[in-house]
């Protein structure tokens, strides 16, 4: 399932509060500033920096 545009519009990086890049196919939300990739698991964005992938 794709995250709703309404929800995407309010989500930001929890660390720097900047906008995120959504990748529906990979089910991720990426913060370029923090270089963190947040996973979306079972349609639930997991917005915890300690569980995000660093890149």
């Amino acid at each position: 399932m794709v995250l709703s545009p309404d929800l995407l519009a309010v989500l930001v990086c929890p660390v720097c509060k900047k906008d995120l890049a959504y990748d529906a196919a990979a089910a991720t939300l990426t913060c370029q500033a923090c270089r963190l990739r947040y996973k979306i698991v079972d349609d639930i964005p997991v917005m915890l920096a300690e569980e995000a992938e660093k890149f």
């Binding site: 709703s4 929800l7 989500l11 929890p14 509060k17 639930i44 964005p45 917005m47 915890l48 300690e50």
Partner: protein, 262 residues
């Protein structure tokens, strides 16, 4: 003992999500309706429910708002919230996993922010309230319903000790006076305060309360003795009464609502 880490809280509540989902005080308690009455949601508004657990507040508000976001550290709780929304036939509840101390939402995005039966777990209450205030729009309302203590040091210590035994991830239940201070520090205008609200009229069952958090039988006995042997003023405040092998008592809630005026 230090404040519990987010991982500890997520584990504690993730493991017991099903029990919280069927808990009478959590699922049916009166404070959900008090929050709706006080906060007066409007159909085009967005709600953020912080520490949503299995979604009783988000689902109760959902018919009155455009979107309700259930926000919790434990993904299991958000799955339970999704099921609760389906059961209630509401389609505007979304789940987001995260930590109140670092909310993943832009400034002023929500007209309504609630947190029920959760703030006593926040490691840094000032930071948590500041974050909830940050995401609140101008004119937006915040509503808290949580365990509380009176301005009596003995009852305060007793009640917080009892709650920490029941659930080691408890940080502190705050008095109404302390809540007024947190809101003032965050620049919020307090609209209404009730400092003794009962979730379930027949009182809490100690056995049910302890089973929900997975407490051991040794802890259960310690809590039972604490309640029955407490000083009279503490027993009166908590409305303690024996009930066969069980003990009925009350854990009063503070319900406080405020507005972001600037």
């Amino acid at each position: 003992m230090g404040a519990p880490r987010p991982g500890e809280i997520a584990r504690q509540f993730g493991e017991h999500a099903r029990l919280y989902a069927v808990s009478k005080a959590h699922a049916e308690g009166a404070t959900r309706h008090i929050l709706i009455e006080r906060m007066q949601p409007v159909a085009d508004e967005w709600l953020l429910d912080v520490g949503s657990g299995p979604g009783p507040v988000a689902v109760a508000f959902a018919p009155y708002v455009a979107h309700a976001v259930a926000f919790d550290l434990a993904p299991e709780m958000l799955h339970a919230a999704r099921l609760a929304a389906r059961r209630a036939e509401v389609t505007n509840v979304a789940g987001v996993c995260g930590d109140v101390h670092r909310l993943p939402f832009g400034d002023r995005r929500f007209a309504l922010v609630t947190s029920r039966a959760c703030p006593h777990h926040f490691a840094d209450i000032g930071r948590a309230v500041a974050e909830m205030a940050r995401v609140l729009a101008r004119g937006g309302r915040i509503g808290i319903a949580d365990g509380t203590v009176p301005d009596d040091p003995e009852i305060d210590v007793f009640l917080n000790r009892l709650d920490t035994l029941h659930d080691p991830t408890t940080v502190r239940n705050y008095s109404a006076r302390e809540w007024r201070g947190f809101f003032a520090d965050a620049g919020l205008r307090v609209d209404a305060v009730d400092d003794y609200v009962v979730e379930i009229p027949e009182g809490r069952s100690l056995l049910d309360w302890l089973a929900r958090s997975g407490a051991s039988s040794a802890v259960a006995e310690q809590c039972r003795r604490m309640l029955l042997d407490a000083p009279a003023k503490t027993r009166d405040y908590l409305r303690v009464r024996p009930d066969g092998d069980d003990v009925r008592f009350e854990l009063p809630r503070v319900v406080i609502t405020a507005t972001r005026t600037s």
